[in-house]
Subunit: 262 residues, 2 copies
């Protein structure tokens, strides 16, 4: 469902209204599980606020909503056909995640890029992923390795056809695979949340510098290190990757200072 309705001030959003019980048909996204006494792996509750959250997050990470841009809650609510409540809830969550900045009584803005926060996010990401890799390496999982390689293969195809979106989805999927391979419940969600800043920056840089090929090579080096169960080398490769990103960020800041907050 989810019809695109477009688009004021370069915002591309969707209409949630259609997923309501307006017709007698099933509404796909509204399924909820009442697993009160079950295992509870994050209740599959797709409430309106969850949907709004996903839509806004996607829009921010893909830079459809540019850093620094104002977010009119009321406008968003109107565009999505919901009230202000679920929009506020979604935005609060995004603020916790560092993707929006809320100034009390004043306004809400897509978070600008703060170099020091990005540095911290990088640190967290490396810490979590190298630890995950270390753990994965210890338990030697050939199927996981196969999935990594399949993913890299797909990345190569996407890079060849210069398909940014596809490439990026695969990139994120690879990180998810690495987290999953560690076999820890909920680790992927935590890592994904902490990575959101980085994901946004990387996608921005990818568009900006179009260095998919180099990125791919870095990914391959990391996976290769994992295959050799060499967590230290994997970590070192990541560090190098990050240093590279730091340089590019400085370039970007010179050319597009309006995206930055520091």
């Amino acid at each position: 469902m989810l019809d695109v309705i477009g688009a004021e001030s370069n915002i591309l959003l969707y209409d949630l209204q259609t997923s309501r019980r307006s017709d007698s048909g099933s509404y796909e996204l509204q399924l909820r599980l009442p697993n009160r006494d079950f295992k509870e792996q994050k209740v599959v509750s797709v409430t309106r606020k969850d949907q709004v959250y996903s839509i806004l997050r996607q829009a921010i990470i893909s830079s459809q909503l540019a850093p620094g841009e104002a977010i009119r809650k009321e406008l968003v609510a109107a565009q999505l056909g919901v009230s202000r409540t679920p929009v506020s809830d979604a935005i609060n969550r995004l603020a916790d995640e560092g993707l929006v900045e809320i100034y009390p009584q004043t306004g809400t803005f897509v978070a600008r890029l703060w170099l020091d926060k990005i540095e911290t996010a990088q640190f967290v990401r490396v810490a979590l992923e190298t630890a995950a890799i270390r753990r994965t390496a210890e338990r030697a999982n050939p199927e996981a390795l196969g999935r990594f390689r399949q993913n890299l293969e797909d990345q190569r195809k996407a890079a060849n056809s210069r398909d940014f979106e596809q490439f990026y989805e695969l990139d994120e999927a690879l990180h998810d695979l690495i987290c999953d391979a560690a076999g820890l419940v909920g680790l992927r969600e935590i890592a994904s949340k902490e990575r959101s800043q980085i994901d946004r920056v990387r996608r921005l840089l990818l568009h900006y510098e179009a260095r998919m090929v180099e990125t791919l090579a870095e990914h391959e080096a990391i996976i290769s290190a994992i295959a050799d169960k060499d967590a230290d080398r994997a970590a070192a490769t990541m560090e190098a990757h990050i240093a590279q990103m730091g340089k590019m960020l400085l370039h970007l800041k010179i050319k597009r200072p309006e995206l930055f907050g520091s």
Copy 2:
């Protein structure tokens, strides 16, 4: 101000009403900084939802609110003298943090202890803190080391006088010090959030088994390893500490299964 007003169903909460603009006096907790164009280190906006969040979080981590216990939003709102909105906002944030479980259209409960989630939280905590230690060690900070030792000294005093609360505050403060020493903006907040599960469990176990002395020894071993710039040993010590905790958790689960969810 925050007067204690007490307490239905073993809940100890506070009255926020008094911090409103009912008198002409200043209201301490209400200060906000309008630093729209400033460095923005988390706007010092102490809104009602922030206060409710802090109060509830404290209550949950200290187990004043027991795992599995129902949280009546409306009741909490009434007790705190606020409406349901800031309470809901606070609870949403706590749900993100994994401290409460929300079942749509059904109820909100203090999160039970899920062994697999605790395992993940431990993993994240170790990953972040050993990385922080590694970074701290690299940049050799004698003042930080002094602060660590002062903290340990205070912990020793608290342990001797068997002051749980004080001991625990110092314990958390030590972890904050370690994070700060890494010199990364916002790392402490991230680590603190990811640690909340663990903090709750540890405090529970501390009350339960009263092993402050042993815990203190473990802390001393960790700091000693840091002083020697031996991140690997620090990590190993933490791992041992965690294994210990895992055993105690299994005991606790047998004696008090109602606290657990898995």
